[in-house]
């Protein structure tokens, strides 16, 4: 079996574990290096662009029409060339990007709840934790992006 296959198998197992219970990743206690340094790890292989994070954020913060705490940006759609590297069909990725207004749901996390976008994501594609811990998960599979919106 090639390395590529190992990675796919590992990531398959990795996904299989993603349930409601594991959306907030374990993070180290009392680590001065990670204090206040929380982020969002977003799997844009599986973000479907459903806008759930956008509306969940908006309701949580009561942002008015025209202002957002997170937005789904698009890469594509454009036609790839069949048979060449990168696969066939279309390139079309949806990538949620926190805005300047993202406070990582400070009020929620203070009450022990995970951020609303993480809680509601229909594809289980957003994880919340310390940058350090999320970075470890990031190397487990490609097509992820790690956002560090602010020191909380």
């Amino acid at each position: 079996m090639t390395n590529a296959h190992n990675v796919i198998n590992e990531t398959t197992n990795f996904y299989a574990k993603s349930t409601a219970k594991t959306k907030a990743v374990t993070c180290a206690k009392n680590d001065s290096e990670t204090a206040g340094k929380f982020g969002l790890l977003i799997d844009y292989e599986f973000c479907t662009g459903c806008e759930t994070c956008v509306v969940a954020c908006k309701k949580e913060h009561d942002f008015p029409v025209g202002k957002w705490g997170i937005r789904v940006l698009e890469d594509g759609p454009w036609q790839k060339i069949d048979g060449e590297e990168g696969g066939r069909g279309f390139n079309w990725n949806k990538i949620p990007v926190p805005t300047d207004l993202c406070d990582l749901c400070g009020k929620r996390t203070a009450r022990g709840k995970i951020p609303s976008c993480v809680h509601h994501c229909q594809a289980f594609a957003i994880k919340y934790g310390t940058i350090k811990e999320l970075a470890k998960i990031m190397v487990e599979k490609p097509k992820q992006v790690l956002w560090f919106p602010r020191v909380t």
Partner: protein
């Protein structure tokens, strides 16, 4: 600093609990607002009787806390300033005048309905009344009850031409498969879902004419497809248009719109001729396979991959690759969607897809297609001896030449049915023991009033003469014949309409919606049950009865309307708003007020209705279901072996032959070809080349958005801003030829109508095809007639003609029409600050 252990969830919480200053009510949502009955888990946070906010409920076995934007915006719907929460009345002379409504009491409203109904029924016969309904609301599935039990007219009607939503497929299910809709297995009915040892992740999921992620069609949780992709499932996409799932598919078949039957027949050609089918299953459980194979190979009516490649406009290699990948995958499932219904060839497309699922042995197996178990008839138990005898009979019957003769077999079918049919009193008995069709058996909630109608009245159902299978199967008047009745008085005029849970003038459902409007204006009295002043109510009605949202009533959500063994959920009431009532309350209270014979003594109140007709399917009382919130039905696989697909508990399927009828005795008995065939869409470059010169684009409509459910949610600013304008997708090369810039408004037109859309230049549509959004009206615009909130501005349904149905009356060309595209100079862009200023400030 927090460790993960400190992040809490609400797993294991009871159905009601307190958290800080809130009472939290766990519920399983479905309608209103309209949606499909997934029954997504919600926690409603209530303070002092007011809904403060909502959150996804982690306890839901399928959704696990996940929610879509529409439920997240529920509060903005419940307390929307434009919502109608008291009954209102208006003089029929003032239809279309927005400021003429007067608040009235429910008593006044019921008295007015009684006066009109008693007079019209006595003068013209009860059939002069119609109840018109739509999709996605809990009232929709009660349309027959409203018409036949409450008003006493046979004319319940879903107004979409050819009932081109679900019914072309589900008619094929009832008659070919002898079971209700076979959904993809996503372990929703099993404890621990994907981790249940009985479940097998499908190797391949075919997504055919469906966008499950935004649509959640009929209760399939769309993002379950993502869950299964993460667990290794590969995808095949069959869709003219590129979508998110098709980008991640191993094979994509981007066929020409409306040619699905040709493609499915070509897949069957490959699978049959390369002997990739499950011979044992076919031999044991399928009826008429040789005839079916002969049809697929027939030089004239058959379909080779080369012929299909030409018809469907896709490379022939793709057909071979897709068919082989599907047939060799064990297990494999097909998520089949609305696109199969929305052409005249829909019954045949459904027939072919059922044949694909069947001959590959994927019916009722883990990771394949799941079907609902039905209850045994009273007193019937599984008995090994009679099962063995029945199996032998099955074999014999299956090879009987009589059944296959051309002049089928009316006698044989009747004989066959009388052996299983039992007379039951539906008022008293468990309705599940009624089994005139597989659909009835799987969905024991239907036909509350039908059996109380006289035979004479049943025969007067509009469309009974022309389309008896359609009318009898769903106890609905035929939509296109109802259009004739409303617009021309043929076979007789409609004088009163109850417009319930449908905004039929908006481009959601009815075809030639502008003509429906003119026709319904002729009625003497119209009334509506709804939540918002839609253009349909504003233009046509004299009385508005306000409905409760799902936060304000007790009700039940059931995947596939009970037709699929996934979940049954309790919709738990959390708040009161105004003087609204639920559909069930209105049915029972108005029925009592009108002294309905059909409903007499049937239900004490709405809870009694939930006990008898909803929670009973979960084999528990409403009160118990309310506390459980979600009930997983459990799944027994391969039920054809154990008798659990038939009320008599004999093995096999609920068809006259007891097998999956690849050669359909029911189609034959109703004058339709018992085998599938391809027919070209009525309007296409091939069937109407002269017209196509004038209208060179293929027009498809109805692609889903996350922001809206059909015509709903346009007045919710935070959803509207996700999709402010009525959009049409056009290929950039086509746009360049026509001089259309990105974001420019265009007018599309054909011989029947025209509509304006904002152009989105995108390569996701094929060249020569445009995709227009449906459902548009503009609640921020002037409501007075003739504007009616701009309902005819971007109304693509004015361009769909009635009466282009299959021989049996099903299907219509909503997704395979033709049009011209002309750029406009004007802009019709929505001003979001106007929408926000009108609807942004909630009324609590």
């Amino acid at each position: 600093m927090k460790s993960a252990m400190q992040y809490k969830n609400d797993l294991g919480k009871p159905w009601r609990y307190n958290e800080d200053e809130f009472e939290v009510i766990r519920t399983s949502m479905w309608s209103p607002p309209g949606c499909h009955p997934v029954g997504c888990g919600l926690k409603l946070y209530v303070k002092d009787g007011v809904l403060d906010h909502v959150e996804g409920d982690e306890n839901h076995p399928v959704t696990k806390g996940r929610l879509c934007p529409r439920c997240l915006a529920l509060k903005d719907y419940v307390y929307n300033p434009s919502r109608i929460i008291y009954p209102m009345q208006r003089d029929p002379a003032d239809r279309g005048k927005a400021d003429k409504w007067q608040r009235c009491s429910w008593e006044d409203a019921f008295a007015l309905i009684k006066e009109k109904r008693d007079y019209l029924a006595a003068t013209y016969g009860p059939e002069c009344m119609a109840v018109l309904s739509g999709t996605g609301r809990s009232g929709g599935i009660m349309v027959s009850d409203m018409a036949q039990a409450v008003l006493g007219t046979p004319n319940a009607c879903y107004t979409q031409s050819g009932y081109a939503c679900y019914q072309p497929r589900s008619a094929a299910c009832s008659h070919v498969l002898g079971a209700y809709y076979p959904e993809i297995d996503y372990a929703g009915g099993l404890e621990e879902t994907y981790d249940n040892p009985e479940f097998v992740v499908p190797e391949v999921i075919v997504v055919w004419g469906k966008e499950p992620l935004p649509s959640n069609g009929d209760g399939l949780w769309g993002h379950a497809v993502i869950d299964m992709m993460k667990r290794g499932a590969k995808l095949i996409s069959v869709d003219p248009r590129v979508n998110w799932l098709s980008c991640r598919s191993t094979v994509q078949c981007r066929l020409r719109p409306g040619t699905d039957t040709a493609l499915a027949m070509a897949w069957l050609w490959v699978i049959i001729n390369e002997e990739l089918y499950d011979k044992e299953f076919v031999d044991k459980w399928c009826y008429g396979f040789e005839e079916f194979a002969a049809r697929i190979n027939d030089p004239e009516k058959g379909m080779t991959p080369n012929k299909a490649a030409e018809i469907c406009d896709i490379p022939v290699d793709v057909i071979y690759e897709a068919a082989r990948l599907y047939a060799k995958a064990k297990p494999a499932s097909i998520a089949w969607g609305l696109a199969l219904d929305q052409n005249q060839n829909g019954n045949q497309a459904g027939h072919c897809l059922l044949a694909l699922m069947s001959i590959t042995g994927n019916v009722d197996i883990p990771g394949g297609q799941i079907i609902a178990e039905i209850d045994p008839a009273p007193g019937v138990a599984i008995d090994a001896k009679s099962q063995a005898a029945a199996l032998a009979d099955l074999k014999k019957a299956a090879f009987s030449a009589d059944v296959k003769s051309d002049n089928v077999s009316k006698d044989l079918l009747d004989d066959s049915l009388t052996t299983t049919r039992m007379e039951v009193n539906l008022d008293k008995a468990d309705a599940a023991s009624d089994k005139s069709t597989a659909e009835d058996a799987a969905r024991p909630t239907r036909r509350i009033g039908w059996d109380a109608l006289s035979d004479e009245l049943k025969q007067k159902t509009i469309g009974m003469k022309e389309y008896p299978m359609y009318v009898n199967n769903i106890r609905n008047a035929h939509a296109d014949r109802m259009f004739d009745a409303v617009t021309t008085g043929d076979p007789y005029p409609i004088r009163m309409a109850w417009i319930q849970s449908t905004n039929l003038l908006a481009p959601t459902c009815s075809a030639e919606s502008d003509k429906w409007y003119q026709g319904l204006l002729k009625c003497e009295f119209n009334f509506a049950t709804d939540l918002f002043m839609t253009p349909s109510v504003q233009g046509l009605c004299d009385l508005f009865l306000p409905l409760s949202t799902c936060a304000e009533k007790n009700d039940v959500s059931m995947t596939h309307y009970f037709g699929s063994p996934v979940t049954i959920g309790a919709i738990n009431k959390a708040i009161d708003v105004g003087e609204t009532k639920s559909d069930a309350q209105i049915m029972i209270e108005l029925g009592a007020y009108l002294q309905s014979k059909a409903l007499e003594g049937m239900f004490i109140d709405a809870e009694d209705f939930l006990n008898q007709r909803r929670a009973n399917v979960a084999k528990m009382s409403w009160a118990k279901l309310a506390q459980k919130v979600n009930f997983q039905r459990g799944v027994n696989y391969r039920k054809y072996e154990t008798g659990r697909l038939r009320p008599d508990r004999l093995p096999g399927f609920l068809t006259p032959t007891g097998r999956i009828e690849l050669w359909s005795t029911a189609f034959a008995a109703n004058g339709e070809d018992p085998l599938p065939y391809y027919s070209e869409p009525a309007f296409s470059p091939y069937s109407s080349p002269e017209l196509a010169k004038k209208y060179p684009f293929i027009l498809t409509t109805g692609a889903r958005t996350y922001a809206f459910f059909h015509s709903e949610h346009r007045q919710i600013p935070i959803l509207r801003e996700l999709n402010p304008d009525a959009m049409i997708e056009i290929h950039p090369a086509d746009a360049a030829e026509l001089g259309i810039a990105s974001g420019q408004w265009v007018e599309i037109a054909n011989d029947f109508g025209k509509a304006k859309f904002k152009a989105k230049l995108s390569p996701i549509v094929k060249r020569g095809v445009v995709q227009a959004q449906h459902g548009w009206w503009f609640p921020e615009q002037d409501g007075n007639a003739p504007n009616l909130y701009g309902v005819f501005q971007s109304n693509c349904n004015t361009m769909i003609a009635n009466h282009y149905n299959s021989k049996l009356g099903y299907g219509a060309p909503y997704k395979c029409n033709i049009c011209s595209v002309v750029p406009l100079k004007e802009s019709y862009d929505t001003n979001m600050s106007v929408v926000d200023s009108k609807f942004g400030k909630l009324v609590i």
